[in-house]
Symmetry: C2
Subunit: 460 residues, 2 copies
Amino acid sequence: MRDFLQAVAALIGPAHLLTDAADTAPYTLDWRRRYQGLPLAVALPGSTAEAAELVKLCRRHQVAIVPQGGNTSTCGAATPDASGRQLVVTMRRLRAVRRLDADNNAITVEAGATLREVQLAAEQAGRLFPLSLASEGSCQIGGNLSTNAGGVAVLRYGTMRELTLGLEVVLPDGRVLDALAGLRKDTTGLDLKQWFIGAEGQLGLITAATLKLFPLPSARATALIGVDDIETAIRWLNGLRQRFDNRLTAFEVIEADCQQAIARHRPGQLPFTAPWLLLIELSDGGDDAALNEALLDWLAGQTPRDGVVAQSEAERRKLWLLREEISEIQKQDGPSIKHDIAVPTSALPQLVRDCGAALRQAYPGVRIVAFGHAGDGNLHYNISYTRPGNVDLFDDEPAVNAIVYDHVYRLGGTLAAEHGIGQLKPQWLERYKDPLALELMRTLKAALDPERLMNPGKWL
Amino acid sequence: MRDFLQAVAALIGPAHLLTDAADTAPYTLDWRRRYQGLPLAVALPGSTAEAAELVKLCRRHQVAIVPQGGNTSTCGAATPDASGRQLVVTMRRLRAVRRLDADNNAITVEAGATLREVQLAAEQAGRLFPLSLASEGSCQIGGNLSTNAGGVAVLRYGTMRELTLGLEVVLPDGRVLDALAGLRKDTTGLDLKQWFIGAEGQLGLITAATLKLFPLPSARATALIGVDDIETAIRWLNGLRQRFDNRLTAFEVIEADCQQAIARHRPGQLPFTAPWLLLIELSDGGDDAALNEALLDWLAGQTPRDGVVAQSEAERRKLWLLREEISEIQKQDGPSIKHDIAVPTSALPQLVRDCGAALRQAYPGVRIVAFGHAGDGNLHYNISYTRPGNVDLFDDEPAVNAIVYDHVYRLGGTLAAEHGIGQLKPQWLERYKDPLALELMRTLKAALDPERLMNPGKWL
């Protein structure tokens, strides 16, 4: 290993190879603090060419690579194992905007750029890069790609997959696939970039991407609405889509238990409570006043339990902050058994009703902190309760998961909507995913990475 | 082979296995009449299960399969070779709408349904299936998927790939991959459906798909505008996007030589001519009057050379007919060397200028019939001229293609934007596509179809 580390240091410069525990610490513990790894070292290549040579070196020395972005995975996808033999490779130094082509509505950025940096670069050119999620200040484009990130604007703009025009990838054999073309249409063969999006770094190392940009909306209208049940929420969703088409940019929900957590940690911030709160945002060209008026017009025809429409940018930010801080609040609230589930939006009411009943029966007093992207059928559905005898909540995780996922799959849903599989869910993937689908995925893995050096020990 | 044909007849019923030349004729000549195949037979399975058994039979007897949809390929992708040994498999009998879930904005249809049938089924549920192309009355969903079809609404709604939520596919070994889930977000592993979209039937037989639906627009505003050059067209494109965001549904262009062809075949139909005509359509909720007014407001700030805004549905249809009939008109006009190219929209002006100049220098008197989806950077760019001595135009095809594709690739473009490769362009794919990309595609082909029984003799 000393030979290997010397060769890496010579390649990328000794300052960019971290081996001391104090230096590697920020890269070894996952965001939720569930996985503590022990890496051989952490390498920060400074260019695609260096990254490619690094992969070749790893292959020669049979060192496994764990690609890491901003280290905000909620499922341990970017955390090394405890063997002390895996090399964490992070793209933090590869963060340039290589090209911004406003007339083509496209930006080419390196994988280590944070999502926020890309959003800002787009804004400076009068364009929008619409991916938006709570960790946007620290998560990186390479991680967004590797997990097919979602967030709060998928309803209108799609997931990271749909926002991607091209990729540059270092393959497991160290060759570089340059598929960065900024084209809206291309039928010259298979669409290779699709293979690497959502692959959690198990098929290659993404080093750059060409992403779609959109007109920067000049108007927003944002409302927080209280309704009585999830059925009403879905009726509102379809009513809003019918009226505003995809000016409807976000449609988030916050369930009662989740509102209580917010009220405990951010007293006085919630303007009102209700069985379900809807956070609705429209965006468009034109001005705020016209859009607000259109939203108010539509609301006048409804009968919400309660509601407020933001009258200023400050009020709008305040409403969004309630939603964005939920994950952080939950972290302070102690452990919970988290789920990142999705079903067809039409099936959300049945899921909430049936799965909630089953959990309440099995675990009296359970708190179901449900919130998220109802417009995409995607709920973060987090379970906690005080367990008699002070036993670790996570002892119950398998039983709780089985209840939740059984309901989700009965309704044609998924156990990982936008957070991926990582180290947290491989056993659940095995249980619920079609074995033929898994076999096909592994066929590609075996073809591209026969030595299994790309992020081994995850799910592929 | 007699054993094989008897087994197929027993499986799908003798009435659904066509062997007489008169019966198979509609399946053996491609739409542009460039490829005449001679198949062993044409099989019409009646269910996914039958299709799966049929693939197993083919494998047992080592009979190659040519999947065929509505036989509207413009590159011979669905035409068998002349060996008399390939089995054409068409899904014409598999055309049911299996499920329409309006609340989830999703429809599950079988591969043999025509695009028009799917559009109508969506409309009856108050929804839009937005894929729209000239051959929509006869092309089939399976073919749309296998070619990643584009058309006139990609600017707003994306290509067939972006419109697809799930697929059902018979793999080359006869097993059925059921990946039909109607989910907007799913990160349980690799997105397998992406492998089969755009694969031109070389990786499996698509039998059904779950597709996205959208709110049915209640308002449209359609204008035909004359401008002086392609630079102005691209300026308009970005101005319209900025003002109307993705209410801008279509942005088509028709160049001068193409207008002349229309004028010859449809005298009196073109309201005016100009170096470039723009066919612009906005769509939205609300009513036509408001949208028309908004478009007229915006137009008032511009200085078009000429322009007309449709004042009725009949006028709107008339404007669109001009655009939709171009391919048919071209067919009547005799042979032309066709190109289906795309570049970043920002590069379209340079392409048109430089490539046009190079062609005019090499072939004095050349007619460049250019039209298509400028909003996606995609032009149909068809070359014809009277060749001295009455020699076959296609003798010059290699030289003409080299001029066009050299310009396209210098600008980061593609030689097949939405029509695919088929039998027409494999040699050009070899010449212009990154060899590493081709190698990766063939790696997947070898892994999924080692016996090369799915649509062999095309490009994979």
